[in-house]
């Protein structure tokens, strides 16, 4: 019964020699707290054995034991009580006393539970309360700011979008940087299951209701992650789902509702007048004033002269000037595309209902949940229903069966937002002209003359709403586990787990306007099935030699097969503008299917040893194979070792009363990363077609790749002080990735259209410090105040990269001696105050006049031709070099107030699309629009110290340079909450057991260090701003009722 409460605080089990032939007897009784209220769920264990039970809802219990044994009563937040069983004992009633926190039991790899005293690794657990503080559908978002060294980047603010989780920086260049996700001990599929890469990603974890999660444990270091061998390089996130609790049937209802808005306003688009003023400036500079290359055909720099010139020359025929004329005819109204495409005060609502029940033999947990969340952009939302069921029963005194199923369905109306699509509503803000009326006759303006001719773009008020981009995902996660307790020391566990995800994706383009217009409408339907099964067999052996040599040995095998099936059909030329299935298509039929699989097999041996919980030794060996590698390189060995010293257990510490715990730890291990595409190791051809016959296209270059290896080193210090009111730890880590799996670019003349091939090239390190501290500042019965925080640093360096494998792009570099993907750009030297021309520093290396060798100095000459400016290493990449969180909570007589600040910085981010939003090129300004930064910052006359070059100076000013590289540092009020828990006396009158209400705000405040960074600072992990929906803030009301 020791796993009845998985993942929460429970009692430490000591191993002692058990008496045999003892006299069996049954003890019963009632457990209450110090006020006399019955305590349900108290753990009652026969000391030295694994036999145990829990008190029921009225605090009653009954347990089989023998004379001479001792019963241990334990409950979270209360001091453990031991009572011997004598021949005369028949019942034990006791009042437990609230006390210092018990030793925390931590779940590590493969569900092995141990106390902190038995661990040498770095493990952080986030509990259910913290998980539910962040009301977003993707559960990983709750980890932001709560785990040192863990950052979460949001790919889109549309609900359900993927989150990019990075633990201790990025370990790989081209292989996956995502941690391994494990649910109830079994690795599961993760990542994006969206049916199209053009639209919002669909995070498979958005399928799991956060209300069903008991805790999330993050494994970061070598000793903790090495058991997962090949998959542990990027850290491991272990999710434990809720289990039934012993006691009477209890119901719980949690409801929340709120509003969502973009967390930051972002870059603002110019209005029609601002655009017109900029266009005048540009025309004057190019066609008027010949100081700046103007041709002199406009003779006067006045609005009327310029307007007349346009209307009296061939310019008047150009569509964008015709739009100007139309806007002028209409009286120059304010057409605000940003307002039109934004769904202000988007609604979110969530309801979870659960029931739990249990006795000493079996327990169950069942839940249903509903979530509806709108996006802050028009045309997108998310709706989910989910059910969870877990049943555990003791078949007899040897066998325990646990069955669980999590089934959910979500419908995400995604946004077409992953590139500069004409129908991307986020693009519309900056690319749709404020001279063009969004509406025509009360409907979205799609008039060929009044819209299409003027903009050349799509009206997203039509396409975002009328077109369909639906991810309809059904996920079933089912697990059956049998635990066989062979004897007190030896346990065998077998788990069979099925993880099935089905995404039906529908893409419908209306025939009336937009992408579907030319083809008379387009329908694409697709079903992708991800089927993954895992079989895990585990033998745990816990024993003690002598009095104090404690061993915990595990042998394990795990086999996983991932299968992906895809079936796609499409048709065009639709019968009408309302039937949206392929059956409405009359032409352009297309269909295809695909299948791929991946298999992994792992054998693991784990050893944990401690001497009297003073000296701790841990080790692991695993042998793992993955089908993604060529046959002779498929299997590899991974191992780890850790040492710990529990200083507080030494006798010389017994006099130092303020130290409760003091622990030193060190770890070393080898992990791996196989996070590359399937079947990359061989040269492959796919079937194309030419003139209706099969044609073979070379689609895989094929390269002999092997495991990417991670070498991790850790040092740590943990302490608890002053009656455990202060808890904390400091650590240093060093991760070295060897034989990086690199998608090495191929020259075009290597004749592979794919353009790159995976290779094992180069090494990289990530080093840093981590610290966590929690202080109970005030801890009285009525008033409690806790502050806790975490802080971590990452220092990244590419330590080896063959010269010809360097990745050099227009903005970034991967090269020995620099950070991975370090920003590498020409250096901006500002706008020339006299001419308004853009300028850069040449930064050409100065050579020694005698030897001809570089002196290390750079020539700081200023140039107006960016081709003369060398790219420089900026010393920064997109990865925050520091990050952390600070949380505090006040409790007073049932009221609570709490908040979390998250901060990150030391990195730089690049504003992409600046070529349009910050343009000085008439060819871009005229058909589209630009940001108010242009209006406010553009050079207008000699002497202006301006941020933006002369309008009409062309595209060069927005060519990639440090001009658009900003400090990424920011602070965000991640969470703030205020609530009240009603007194039991009060709610019992209403027939309830408990009730609480709260109001919570998420991301309500954001500060960025760099005032030029108008976009949300939480951007894609690659560091480029993009045209996806930005992260959101929310205000949500919550109600929880237990009965």
């Amino acid at each position: 019964m020791r796993t009845k409460f998985s993942g929460i605080l429970t009692l430490l089990l000591a191993f002692a020699v058990q008496l045999s032939f003892a006299q069996q007897k049954t003890i019963s009784g009632t457990v209450s707290d110090d006020t006399g209220m019955p305590l349900p769920g108290v753990n009652i264990v026969v000391k030295g054995t694994t036999a145990g039970t829990q008190s029921d809802f009225d605090g009653n219990y009954s347990i089989n034991t023998s004379v001479g044994q001792t019963l241990e009563f334990s409950y979270v937040g209360f001091e453990t009580v031991e009572r011997p069983v004598t021949a005369s004992t028949t019942s034990i009633n006791l009042q437990m006393v609230a006390g210092a926190a018990l030793e925390e039991v931590v779940v590590t790899a493969y569900g092995r539970k141990r106390t902190r005293n038995e661990l040498t690794g770095s493990v952080v657990t986030v509990g259910t309360e913290d998980i539910q503080k962040v009301p977003f559908v993707s559960v990983e978002q709750s980890l932001q700011g709560r785990v040192a060294g863990l950052t979460v980047n949001t790919t889109s603010g549309v609900p359900g979008a993927s989150q990019q989780v990075r633990i201790r920086g990025i370990q790989s260049v081209n292989a996956s940087n995502e941690p391994l996700y494990v649910i109830d001990g079994v690795p599961v599929i993760q990542g994006n299951v969206s049916g199209s890469t053009s639209v919002t990603s669909m995070n498979v974890f958005a399928m799991i209701g956060s209300d069903n999660i008991e805790s999330i444990t993050v494994l970061k270091d070598a000793v903790s992650t090495a058991p997962y061998g090949a998959s542990g390089s990027n850290g491991v996130i272990m999710i434990t789902t809720k289990t039934g609790k012993v006691g009477k049937t209890r119901f719980s209802l949690a409801a929340s509702t709120g509003v969502i808005n973009n967390a930051r306003e972002g870059l603002l688009a110019m209005d029609g007048f601002q655009k017109w003023e900029m266009v005048q400036s540009g025309l004057w500079n190019t066609l008027g004033d010949n100081n700046y290359g103007g041709t002199g055909v406009i003779t006067s720099n006045t609005e009327s002269a310029i307007y007349d010139h346009i209307m009296n020359t061939g310019l008047a025929n150009q569509p964008h000037y015709r739009a100007l004329a139309q806007w002028t005819n209409d009286g120059r109204p304010n057409y605000d595309w940003t307002r039109e495409v934004t769904n202000r005060d988007a609604l979110m609502q969530n309801v979870d209902f659960s029931v739990t029940q249990g006795d000493e033999k079996s327990n169950l947990y069942a839940a249903i949940g509903y979530n509806y969340t709108e996006a802050t952009v028009i045309g997108s939302d998310f709706e989910r229903i989910n059910g969870a069921f877990k049943y555990a029963t003791q078949l007899n005194d040897k066998f325990k069966l646990t069955f669980s199923a999590n089934i959910s369905n979500a419908k995400q109306n995604a946004a077409l937002e992953n590139a500069a699509y004409f129908s991307n509503p986020n693009l519309s803000k900056y690319f749709l002209s404020p001279w063009v009326n969004p509406y025509h006759n009360g409907k979205p303006n799609i008039d060929p003359d009044l819209y299409v001719a003027f903009t050349g773009m799509h009206n997203t008020l039509f396409t975002a709403v009328e077109n369909i981009r639906l991810n309809d995902v059904t996920k079933a996660l089912q697990s059956t586990a049998i635990e066989y307790r062979i004897n007190d020391k030896l346990t065998f566990n077998t788990i069979f787990n099925v993880d099935y995800t089905l995404n039906y994706y529908k893409d419908y383009w209306s025939p009336l306007h937009g992408d579907g217009l030319a083809s008379g409408g387009v329908i694409q339907e697709q079903s992708t099935r991800y089927f993954n099964y895992t079989s895990q067999n585990q033998l745990d052996y816990r024993f003690t030699l002598g009095e104090k040599h404690n061993f915990f040995v595990t042998a394990l095998s795990e086999f996983t097969r991932f299968k992906t099936f895809n079936l796609y059909g499409a048709g065009t030329n639709l019968a009408n503008d309302f039937m949206t299935n392929i059956s409405a298509a009359t032409d352009g039929f297309d269909a295809h299917s695909s299948f791929s699989d991946r298999t992994s097999l792992r054998y693991v041996g784990l050893l944990s040893y401690n001497f009297d919980q003073k000296y701790v030794l841990e080790g692991s060996v695993s042998y793992q194979g993955d089908s993604r590698f060529i046959k002779d390189q498929r299997f590899d060995w991974f191992y780890s070792a850790g040492l710990g010293w529990n200083v507080h257990r030494e006798s010389f510490m017994s006099d130092i009363s303020f130290i409760n715990e003091l622990r030193l730890k060190a770890g070393y291990g080898i992990t791996g990363n196989a996070g590359i595409n399937r079947n990359t190791y061989q040269a492959l051809a796919s079937v194309g077609d030419y003139n209706a016959q099969a044609a073979m296209l070379i689609t895989g270059f094929g390269s002999m790749v092997a495991w990417e290896t991670g070498i991790k080193r850790d040092l740590g210090l943990e302490f608890t002080l002053w009656d455990r009111r202060i808890k904390g730890n400091f650590g240093y880590y060093s991760n070295e990735t060897q034989d990086l799996l690199m998608l090495a670019p191929l020259g075009m003349s290597a004749q592979f259209v794919g353009g790159s091939a995976m290779q094992n090239l180069g090494d990289m390190t990530n080093k840093g410090f981590e610290a966590e501290l929690s202080v109970d500042v005030i801890s009285t019965g009525d008033f409690n105040w806790n502050i806790n925080g975490n802080f971590s640093t990452v220092d990244n360096l590419v330590t080896r990269m063959p010269e010809d494998a360097n990745i050099v792009t227009a903005t970034r570099v991967v090269q020995t001696g620099y950070k991975v993907w370090e920003w590498y750009l020409p250096e901006w030297a500002g706008v020339n105050p006299q001419t308004g021309a853009p300028q850069w520093y040449t930064n050409t290396p100065i050579l020694d006049p005698i030897t001809g060798d570089p002196t290390g100095e750079l020539d700081r000459t200023i140039t107006e031709d960016i081709a003369e400016a060398e790219q420089i290493y900026t010393g920064h990449n997109a990865l925050p070099s520091y990050s952390g969180g600070i949380s505090t909570r006040f409790d007073y007589k049932g009221f609570f107030l709490e908040g979390t600040l998250y901060f990150a910085g030391g990195h730089k981010v690049y504003e992409d699309w600046a070529g349009y939003t910050h343009t000085a090129d008439m060819g871009r300004l005229l058909p589209y629009n630009a940001s108010t930064e242009v209006y406010n910052g553009t050079w207008r006359q000699p002497g202006d110290v301006a941020t933006h070059p002369r309008m009409g100076s062309g595209l060069m000013g927005t060519t990639a340079s440090t001009r658009f590289l900003y400090d990424g540092d920011y602070i965000r009020l991640r969470d703030i909450g205020f609530g009240y828990t009603f007194k039991p006396e009060f709610v019992q009158q209403m027939g309830l057991d408990g009730m609480s209400i709260a109001v919570r705000g998420t991301n309500l405040f954001t500060w960025t260090k760099d005032s030029r960074l108008k976009w949300d600072p939480e951007i894609n992990a690659d560091g480029f701003t993009n045209l996806t929906t930005p992260p959101v803030k929310s205000v949500v009301f919550q109600l929880n009722v237990n009965f």
Partner: protein, 463 residues
């Protein structure tokens, strides 16, 4: 108790067995792809056709290379409707330019398929047919390298050495002993092209020629040689190569000109086309949509073009069916690649009319009378203006009219050492470029320069 132990042992045994069996079954399934391997003539056919498929991609012959030849010259400009090809139009490309990179990627992609086909050993099947297909592969390799050298070679850039300037890396094997080769000179590149065309002819037999002309035929090999020699102004080569084609095809008569573009039937004047069909085409990214699409439609005809090209009053090539203003007052190429959705126009790579004009040009010095006869044979069939003398000026004039919007104009100006004229300062265009400017050659894309240690950037693009 004993019963359960037994069950447990059995369970242990079965699951362990299940796992250990699996170690050997870690072989992934190849369901949608095959390992690159050519065993039979049918396999070879598919790999050679793969090369055509790469050529037909919009990144290469399906659009970009045609536009590169048009929008940099004096026929068309990029109107910024979707922002496409503006850097071509302004000749402001740099080594990061994606369109430039795509052309090179897909040209070499076609070469890769050709090389895999050429090096296929022990192919089962009819040897003559196998030879013919390998000949096609040699010709594809030659044509693709020619396309690369006319875009990336520095023969027209001042101070780079003319024919001894840097040409392109001539790739003769896919994943061979050497992944990369250095850039040959233009002269060497030309010679490799000739050699490949000679090999192609020696392997091919006209009895295997594709009647639809959607694959390279023996005639097409001669036509390619005619085009290459004309480009390099090696008129004796051009003359003999053209002669081998002259008379094998017919010039489209005036009445059929419009239809010959709009028809799905391969025209009698066509020598080599790349297939596009209702189900396999470049869609909105194709050539038709960039000339007149609603959303794209970036490549607009310069207003002065019909006047500058000096079309006669009845010339069918300047009729409303071929060139006219759209309802947004933009002058449009309406006649070539006219189909619109589903964009099933084949891509006309070589038309007989070009070879006739190549032949006429090659004869200017040696047989002016015959040259004039061939030169006039085109306008005579266009209700156009005929010429009284066959000189280079008139040849270029007729080429501009006949081959407009097919991607020839830039090369015709460049190979004659002409400047690119300023057309209209009000349109987004290059504004006039002197012959010899570095922009006459595209930059070598960054990826090629960075990943291929043997490559060299072109003059004027940094490094």
């Amino acid at each position: 108790m004993k019963k359960y132990s037994l069950i447990a042992i059995m369970a242990l045994f079965t699951v362990t067995l299940f796992n250990s069996c699996s170690k050997d079954s870690l072989e992934p399934t190849l369901a949608d792809t095959v390992a690159v391997d050519i065993k039979t003539a049918a396999d070879l056919r598919q790999y050679v056709d793969g090369a055509y498929d790469r050529m037909a991609a919009y990144q290469y012959w399906g659009r970009n290379i045609i536009i590169a030849g048009e929008v940099r010259a004096d026929n068309t400009f990029a109107n910024l409707n979707s922002g496409r090809f503006i850097t071509f139009s302004q000749m402001s490309y740099d080594s990061q330019n994606a369109d430039v990179a795509e052309i090179m990627t897909f040209a070499y992609g076609a070469i890769g398929n050709a090389n895999v086909s050429i090096h296929a050993d022990d192919v089962e099947g009819d040897q003559a047919e196998i030879n013919h297909m390998k000949g096609e592969a040699y010709a594809i390799r030659a044509l693709a390298h020619f396309d690369l050298v006319r875009l990336f070679g520095q023969q027209h850039v001042s101070g780079q050495g003319g024919m001894s300037a840097l040409g392109v890396s001539y790739a003769t094997s896919f994943k061979g002993d050497e992944l990369y080769v250095p850039r040959s000179t233009v002269e060497q590149t030309k010679q490799f092209i000739y050699d490949d065309l000679t090999t192609a002819l020696s392997l091919m037999s006209s009895s295997f020629n594709d009647s639809q002309k959607l694959r390279i035929t023996t005639h097409a090999v001669n036509a390619i040689k005619s085009r290459v020699a004309t480009y390099f102004r090696e008129y004796s080569v051009a003359r003999s190569a053209s002669e081998a084609v002259i008379g094998q095809f017919q010039i489209t008569p005036a009445d059929n000109v419009v239809d010959s573009w709009a028809s799905t039937v391969v025209s009698p004047s066509s020598i080599f086309e790349l297939a596009q069909s209702d189900i396999d085409n470049n869609g909105i990214n194709g050539i038709g949509n960039i000339y007149r699409g609603n959303a794209y439609g970036d490549i607009q005809v310069i207003d002065a073009f019909p006047t500058d090209a000096e079309f006669g009053p009845n010339d069918v090539r300047n009729s409303d069916d071929m060139i006219r203003t759209d309802n947004n007052n933009r002058l449009r190429n309406m006649g070539k690649y006219p189909m619109g959705a589903p964009y099933s126009d084949n891509i006309k790579v070589i038309r007989y009319e070009e070879i006739v004009l190549n032949y006429a040009e090659a004869l200017i010095e040696t047989n002016p009378a015959l040259a004039l006869q061939h030169l006039n044979s085109i306008p005579e069939r266009r209700d156009g203006t005929t010429y009284s003398v066959a000189n280079m000026e008139n040849i270029l004039k007729e080429r501009r009219k006949e081959l407009a919007f097919e991607g020839f104009r830039f090369d015709d100006l460049a190979r004659m050492g002409r400047n690119l004229p300023l057309i209209d300062s009000n349109i987004p265009h290059h504004g006039g470029v002197q012959y010899g400017q570095h922009t006459y050659a595209f930059p070598i894309p960054n990826r090629e320069v960075n990943a291929n240690p043997l490559s060299t950037q072109n003059f004027g693009y940094g490094n």
